[in-house]
């Protein structure tokens, strides 16, 4: 028999859910974040409920985690495609949305979510019963990603 000790998300604080804003704010602006600062290495980043953040930089520093309770989209420029990367130990889409490209307009550059973690890292749990591993894209919300159809 194997037991898990739930370290991260078992007693998550409630999300006070708000309607997502109609206008996106840029990731690169300190004003877009409740902390008043753009995320730096090792941060436990949250896209708060109600906010719509547009990922407009080329890459993040290595984040400890990224939790999405609002909406996160990737800024796309079809004229001059930009490659964008999120570096994080894990990404948890909880009461929110993670969207890259759209069905009509697939993303034009290279969009990467690079996940880190080793065999001994702490695991994430959605609840007391659902374990999500320690290196992953965990989703109980909405994830939509559209790349270019190349066949």
């Amino acid at each position: 028999m194997e037991g898990f000790r739930c370290v991260v998300n078992c007693e998550l604080p409630e999300v006070e859910e708000m309607e997502i804003s109609d206008a996106a704010v840029p990731w690169s602006s300190p004003d877009s974040w409740p902390s008043g600062a753009v995320p730096v290495e090792g941060d436990e980043v949250e896209v708060p409920s109600g906010s719509w953040i547009e990922f407009d930089i080329e890459e993040t520093p290595l984040l400890k985690s990224l939790t999405i309770n609002g909406r996160l989209t990737f800024k796309n420029d079809s004229e001059t495609p930009v490659n964008r990367t999120i570096h994080s130990y894990w990404v948890f889409v909880r009461a929110g949305e993670l969207i890259i490209g759209s069905e009509e307009n697939p993303y034009d550059g290279i969009a990467t979510i690079r996940l880190y973690g080793d065999p001994n890292g702490e695991a994430v749990a959605f609840s007391m019963f659902t374990e999500g591993g320690n290196k992953g894209l965990m989703n109980v919300g909405l994830v939509k990603m559209f790349g270019k159809d190349r066949d």
């Binding site: 007693e11 998550l12 409630e14 999300v15 889409v93 909880r94 009461a95 890259i100 490209g101 069905e103 697939p106 993303y107 034009d108 550059g109 290279i110 969009a111 990467t112 979510i113 690079r114 996940l115 880190y116 973690g117 080793d118 065999p119 959605f126 609840s127 659902t130 999500g132 591993g133 290196k135 992953g136 894209l137 965990m138 989703n139 109980v140 919300g141 909405l142 994830v143 939509k144 990603m145 559209f146 790349g147 270019k148 159809d149 190349r150 066949d151």
Partner: protein, 135 residues
């Protein structure tokens, strides 16, 4: 996905598929196994692709034999095209597990009930998304 229009053999660096694809140098492709060993899939990197003839040149040599014909074998095999499949693995939207102690990443979509009773129903749509070192 495209099909081999000619058989290729161990040691070959060129495979003939169909023209008109937008495959480019540096793309990763897989030539699926066509013989009795299911493990005989070749993972190759494209060095060049001739859009007119459909010839792919790889950066390295093939390790295994792959069956191909100039046209579908459907008429001879009860509607089944037996020719080897060549699939493109490279995509521009990627979920990547960083290689740390060969520990892979995972993508999990799930329903859950939070402590306060809020139910969440995970939804995921992937269209042309590449998952690498990841399950």
């Amino acid at each position: 996905m495209t099909r081999l229009r000619d058989s290729c053999f161990m040691g070959d660096k060129v495979a003939r598929v169909y023209g008109g694809l937008d495959w480019v140098a540096g793309d990763q492709v897989a030539l699926l196994a066509t013989a009795t060993q299911w493990t005989h899939t070749d993972y190759m990197t494209i060095e060049s692709y001739d859009n007119a003839t459909g010839d792919i040149t790889f950066t390295e040599s093939l390790k295994y034999y792959h069956y191909g014909e100039s046209s579908s074998t459907a008429a001879d095999f009860s509607g089944v095209d037996m020719r080897g499949e060549v699939v493109l693995l490279t995509r521009n939207v990627r979920i990547v597990g960083n290689d740390t102690d060969s520990w892979g990443a995972q993508i999990v979509t799930s329903d859950t009930v939070e402590l306060n009773g809020v139910q969440r129903m995970g939804q995921l749509i992937f269209d042309n998304v590449e998952c690498y070192n990841c399950s």
